[in-house]
């Protein structure tokens, strides 16, 4: 499996190159790639159907427990087959659809990467490997949604999708890490045996929430649903493939995959159930006032995604069965309808339903596919959609709590879906032929094969469910529930309650279709739309974050050097002050002192000239006073036995004066800018620092210091360093490398001064 994935990525990488040479036939070449994958996996069908699980693992980062481990069971095989089958249809279709786009090569690169990642995602047995592919699908989705990147709406939608799914992805990562922490392994299959241990862990609720956050964002569950309709900015093949058939199901796949290991608890089931139900219902309502073909399909997709989630939330055997059938059915019919919508777009120049009508003679083949898919979607016998809807209803009927509420919501939602289907898949072909931008004509073969293939597949599956999906269903449900269902899939269950419900749904849907204008009026009056408007909250949060970001940056990075310094000083004082006052010796510091008169005089002069400097209104006076300070410090060095220091201080002092004098010549007048208030504030800050430092000195010197170094230097200086001036021996021998660094600093400083003075680039220069 790893080799297939590697091949996938390589093939994708070369897509732009190959595309350049084979533009005309590229659709066929491209389609051969998912087809090849499809065949590779279908060859494993029997093995899997017989109950085998194929595993493959290569270690990747063993020290973190991360491996390329893959697992092919019923669930993953089902997904892989959907991915590759629809992939084949879409790749072929795109060969024609994308003909007039720029950079079609890049398109195939992205979508190839996406497909491969998606396959990797559903095959992964290692949580982190799964996550890697998960994120890759988000990224490729981002690139594909923004494919028409000259449009601002495309860029925005791409970003929105990425942020929502990416954010969820990060939560998922945390969830997976926590899960691994509880279970001790990143291998998913290793979780199955320790379900109870996981569920009883105190981290369990966090794990559930985090993983579901990932799943819900990816599968656009309420309240993260809004990105999906906006993702319709992508070229239609992308909508059909990623945002209907495959990527958006990754979240649902995730729930299904982990259901066995961490499911079955109240928190897990209820969260999923509630989120799914709400999504199903709200999406259906939101679809109502749409006119754009793709938006309509997107909302119906959302509703279905909600239904699927709801089914996992119900979690009964029947619900899982329903989940599975509905999943397959939806992938087939929705894929078809998206492709049909693309044909409308391509061949008529519009995607607005109200501008389409009477195309049946002009697009007969398209119509065949569209009708097959529509009937399936409406749940009409004998298509697979019918079985799907039947099982959904029957599983709801089994629910104990809130059964009728669920049922009512499901019926209403489905009725809306029916209405959408009529609008998208049926209405355009019948009635009056409406004028369109382009003269409508039948699509080329390349564009027709895909939808026909999928539609026919839907029909066949409906007619012969035991051939096509029974075994996969069995194996998949084992993966999800860890038990054999023993429920067979049948097309016809006889006349019963459920059939009645299907019928009611259909009628209701048709009714909605006919009275849609009136109902729209009512809905508008309710003006729910603002709060349910897809990206209302997203925008609020994003803009809020951005305004906050601006605000905080303006406050922090305000451009005033002195505030930066104040921040730093207060931080320092805050951190150290707290500890300093805990020091026991602080109260009993010995401040008795044996000052001699000259020490006192030097001290007084230093302090006095410091004040002179601070208060001076003349620059030159300040510099003279600084000179005095430096000078007196030099004298202090003499007093306390540091002649070399004194020498250096005097020398440096003089040089600094010379420097100042040479520079000062051109310096500005010494201006007074600060107001009294800030002076007082600064004085308080400055004094605090001073007091702090004084205390430090007193506290440290109150203790004894035993320095072996001092003794060593006294002994080794002459004997081994050959010098009597120990300070100098330290500088040129014991710690000569300090001096090496020091002279380097000087060298660089001199170069810097030189360069600063001589090199003056103008603003325009680069």
């Amino acid at each position: 499996m790893l080799n297939l994935i590697i091949i996938g990525f390589f093939a994708s990488a070369f897509a732009p190159l190959i595309y350049k040479r084979t533009k005309k036939y590229f659709g066929w070449i491209a389609a051969s790639f998912p087809l090849y994958m499809f065949i590779s996996f279908i060859l494993k069908y029997n093995e899997i159907a017989s109950g085998k699980i194929i595993k493959e693992a290569i270690s990747w980062i063993p020290s973190l427990g991360i491996n390329f481990s893959f697992l092919l069971d019923g669930l993953s095989l089902t997904f892989v087959l959907i991915i590759t089958l629809i992939g084949t249809a879409v790749f072929l279709y795109a060969g024609s659809y994308m003909k007039n786009y720029e950079h079609t090569g890049r398109f195939y690169l992205y979508i190839g990467v996406f497909m491969t990642s998606m396959i990797g995602l559903v095959l992964s047995d290692n949580m982190i490997t799964l996550f890697v592919f998960w994120e890759l699908t988000s990224i490729s989705s981002y690139l594909l949604i923004g494919f028409n990147h000259h449009k601002e709406s495309s860029r925005k939608s791409a970003l929105q999708a990425l942020l929502v799914t990416g954010g969820g992805g990060l939560a998922l990562m945390a969830g997976l890490i926590l899960l691994a922490q509880v279970s001790g392994s990143f291998e998913i299959s290793a979780l199955y045996d320790i379900h109870d241990k996981i569920v009883s862990s105190k981290l369990y609720p966090a794990v559930v929430i985090l993983i579901l956050l990932g799943a819900f964002t990816k599968s656009a569950q309420f309240p993260f649903h809004f990105w999906l309709p906006n993702a319709m900015e992508a070229p239609t093949p992308v909508s059909a493939y990623l945002h209907s058939a495959t990527m958006v199901k990754a979240g649902i796949y995730l729930i299904a995959r982990f259901n066995h290991a961490i499911g079955g608890t109240v928190i897990w089931q209820d969260t999923i159930l509630i989120a799914g139900t709400i999504t199903m219902f709200i999406a259906a309502l939101l679809a109502f006032n749409q006119t754009d073909l793709k938006k309509l399909l997107a909302y119906s997709t959302l509703s279905v995604l909600g239904t699927l989630t709801m089914l996992l939330g119900i979690g009964s055997n029947l619900a899982i069965k329903a989940f599975f059938i509905f999943l397959v059915a939806h992938s087939l019919y929705k894929g078809t309808l998206f492709l049909v919508a693309g044909i409308f777009d391509h061949k008529t120049g519009t995607r607005n339903v109200s501008m389409l009508g009477g195309l049946k003679k002009l697009l007969p083949v398209t119509m065949t596919a569209a009708l097959l898919a529509s009937f399936s979607m409406m749940g009409i016998i004998p298509l697979v959609g019918f079985i799907g809807k039947e099982t959904v209803y029957s599983s709801i009927l089994e629910v104990e709590n809130f059964r009728f509420l669920l049922l009512a919501l499901a019926v209403i939602s489905n009725a809306f879906v029916v209405m959408v289907t009529i609008l998208v898949g049926i209405k355009p072909f019948f009635g009056k032929l409406l004028p369109t931008l382009k003269p409508p004509q039948e699509a080329p073969v390349k564009m027709l094969i895909g939808p026909i293939l999928l539609a026919v597949f839907g029909l066949l599956t409906g007619l012969f469910p035991n051939v096509f999906i029974q075994k996969l269903l069995d194996r998949s449900t084992i993966s999800i529930l860890a038990e054999e269902l023993g429920i067979t899939v049948k097309l016809w269950h006889g006349f019963n309650y459920v059939l009645l419900l299907s019928f009611v749904t259909l009628l209701l849907g048709i009714g909605l279709y006919y009275f849609r204008k009136q109902i729209l009026q009512i809905l508008e009056n309710l003006s729910l739309s603002n709060y349910l408007k897809p990206s209302f909250w997203y925008e609020r949060i994003l803009n809020g974050t951005l305004s906050f970001a601006s605000l905080q940056t303006k406050i922090l990075q305000n451009g005033y050097l002195r505030y930066y310094i104040i921040f730093i000083i207060i931080t320092t004082l805050g951190l150290t002050g707290y500890t300093l006052f805990k020091i026991s010796g602080i109260g009993s510091l010995d401040i008795t002192t044996d000052l001699t008169i000259y020490e006192l005089i030097i001290g007084i002069i230093i302090i006095a000239s410091t004040f002179l400097v601070i208060t001076s209104v003349s620059r030159l006076k300040a510099i003279v006073a600084i000179g005095v300070v430096g000078f007196c410090i030099g004298i202090i060095f003499i007093l306390y036995s540091a002649p070399d220091l004194a020498l250096t201080t005097f020398a440096i002092e003089t040089l600094t004066v010379i420097l100042f004098v040479l520079v000062l010549y051109r310096l500005p007048k010494y201006l007074q800018f600060s107001n009294p208030g800030s002076k007082i504030r600064d004085a308080i800050i400055a004094a605090s620092v001073g007091i702090f430092m004084t205390m430090i000195v007193l506290l440290v010197t109150a203790g004894e210091m035993q320095s072996e170094l001092k003794k060593y230097f006294a002994e080794a200086s002459l004997a081994e360093g050959k010098g009597r001036n120990i300070v100098n021996v330290i500088l040129v021998d014991f710690r000569a490398i300090d001096t090496l660094g020091e002279i380097t600093v000087l060298a660089v400083a001199a170069i810097g001064v030189y360069a600063l003075l001589k090199l003056r680039l103008k603003e325009g220069d680069k």
């Binding site: 006076k621 030099g634 004194a646 020498l647 005097f650 020398a651 004066v657 010379i658 040479l662």
Partner: protein
């Protein structure tokens, strides 16, 4: 205490006093030239102080510092004068 010690102590006090006086001139100015003169004188006094302090502590190592001070104080004064002259030249 020997006479020398007493003399040294008195000297130190006298030099210390002069340091203060010089500093007062430096502080009150009024012209910048006054301050520079004061600084120059401060350096000269420091040399005297170092010499006396050397006797008080019986170490000669400090004497060399005096040479440097003499040398550099001169340079500093020249630099200031240089600045003043440039400042006043139109």
């Amino acid at each position: 205490m020997s006479f020398l010690e007493i003399a040294v102590n008195i000297s130190i006090i006298m030099i210390g006093l002069s340091l203060i006086l010089i500093f007062i001139r430096l502080a009150i100015g009024p012209t910048i030239e006054d301050r520079i003169v004061a600084l120059d004188l401060l350096a000269a006094n420091a040399i005297g102080f170092v010499a006396v302090y050397a006797i008080q502590n019986k170490t000669t190592t400090f004497l060399d510092v005096g040479i440097i001070v003499a040398l550099l104080a001169f340079l500093g004064t020249v630099a200031f004068a240089y600045y003043l002259e440039r400042r006043t030249r139109k």
